[in-house]
Amino acid sequence: MFDAAAFDLATQLLFQPITLVMLVVGVIIGIVIGVLPGLGPPVALSLALPFTFDMPFVPSIVLLLSIYSASIYGGSISAIVAKIPGTGAAVATAQDGNAMFRAGRGGEALGLSLTGSVIGGLFSAFMLAVFAPLLAKLAAQFGPREYLAVCVFGLAVVVRVAGASLWKGLAMAGLGLWLTTWGIDPLSGGERYTFGTYQFYSGIKLIPFLIGIFAVSEVFIGAERALTKIEFDASSLKITIPGVKRLKELKGAIMRSSLVGTIIGIIPGEGAAVAAYYAYAEEKRRSDTPEEFGKGAPIGVLAPETANNATVGGALLPTMTLGVPGTPAAAILLGAFAINNLTPGPRLFEERGEIMYAIYIGLFLINIVMMVIGYFAIRFAAQIIRVPQNIVLPLVFLLSVAGIYSTFSSLFAVGIMIAAGVFGYIIRKLGFSVAPLVIGFVLGVIFEDGFRQSITTSQGSILEFFNTPIGLSIYGLLFLTLFGAPIWRRITSMMRRGAS
């Protein structure tokens, strides 16, 4: 239901000078970090999070959302100019984007990337504004069994899409869940894994853990990556925004990629990269000239860039309505809510409607500002690729430790962050995906509470877990997500065989 008073308050909060400054600063920082190879949205958000500690919520969430959106876009600049994707989400863009750049069509590629990113972002913001209140209304009916079903769904899907080994993914999801059992048991008050120190009474804190896993482990991994000096023709750095006629020609690809990105963003997992690949593959499949893909096809740039930015709004949908993050980056956004003692969920929609409106409108503004800054700052942004990693990474580490100390005033929190970073480095070296670990860690408390409260209300019967229409629908959806495609393939092949 539209709340005019909340909407009015949201616009007032958004148009305060501090919020507008944060919006512009966030877009600039996002583009800069996105351009730098290896430092994607989770690292960008991790580094920015401590700066939001003393800020009111609206400017801080606007800053983080600007960084989130702009860092996904920024990754495409280095992918197109130097064939070095700044983020995982830009890997699909690198092939065609760089081929166009080398063929003297760099301006066109950069223009398609920027326009696609902005349209994808606007589309997903619109979908978020339409569907978030509806989902929040549904979520208001959720009890422990439904939340448990949502957690099972989230974890199962993350494990399924993250990494090639199912069992390694499951082990990491289990580990993420287990780490949340440290500290005082919220239901019984019993001590668990406190190791005789009061510092562990509240468990392992989310923010140091996430910054360690994403930013500090990236310092170790990035240090090993020997990058040669990057050279490119700077004279080609003139962006050409596609006109209305060209956009009309491409409208089918834009709409499909926006929808793909939004939907994949909603499903917990490694959203932006998966969405970009999926949109690329879909457009290649539909194309009359699929052989041109990989050799400089404009849609090979437009489709993945539209889809990866469309994951932002999609990922925020379960994050805001259920507290279940759609992507690892959205998990860090939960940290911003936690810093301000806000719990995402249906109650937040009822009690703090202005925050939700500020997020919807903020996302629209962010994409518009990103269009302007992206257009004018392309030359400068591309030069950032030349900044050597051996200058960037030590400063990333220093920003991480200073940020955590600034937030928690505790050397213990810094220790947790470093320990998480070392652990993140080890598991990444061993070929584990960090997504199941992170999503498991974020969902752990909801999962345990849901499970224990469900078992208490059902008097020990596991079957009662499924005796709920919403919960059963979620389990059904999970079944379809995991097994729908193989079953459908089997059915169509049987039908084809039957016909022949």
Partner: protein, 152 residues
């Protein structure tokens, strides 16, 4: 340099030993009298540790029987000795800097960590160290005077 198979098997062994140790600790968790009516405090940690151990055994078996888990049979942990040295030296620099912070405070730790990481990465150009020191100084100033952080 060290196959994924060998490294993952060692990691699986460590994970199993740690799971067992943590399960022993969890066994001693007590549920207060006013606690949860049906499930004891130790239930969830024990179930999860069992689950982790189960998954670890399965993926370790894949490495033993098939030589890979998820197709990483031909991969190695480090491409060459230089890469291993860089990664491990960076790791050491970070851990030592944490120790320095505990003993001597943030300033000394920061002054050590940033050039040490750069050195571990093979930085030889003095100009890069100068830029890093300027960046580190700016970070300190922003946090101290901008955000009011009082570093210990």
């Amino acid at each position: 340099m060290i196959s994924q198979r060998r490294a993952n098997l060692v990691f699986a062994l460590i994970l199993l030993v740690l799971s067992g140790w943590m399960a022993v600790i969890a066994w001693g968790f007590e549920t207060p009298a006013l606690g949860d009516a049906t499930l004891p405090t130790k239930f969830f940690p024990l179930v999860l540790l069992g689950f982790i151990a189960f998954c670890t055994v399965i993926y370790a078996r894949e490495y033993i029987v098939y030589g890979h888990s998820g197709g990483d049979g031909d991969e190695v942990l480090y491409q060459n000795a230089k890469q291993a040295k860089t990664g491990l030296l960076t790791l050491a620099a970070v851990i030592v800097s944490y120790g320095l912070w505990q003993q001597f405070g943030f300033l000394i730790a920061g002054l050590f960590a940033t050039p040490a990481i750069a050195f571990a990465m093979g930085t030889r150009r003095p100009s890069h160290y100068i830029i890093i020191f300027i960046g580190a100084g700016l970070t300190y100033l922003v946090f101290t005077y901008g955000l009011g952080t009082q570093f210990s």
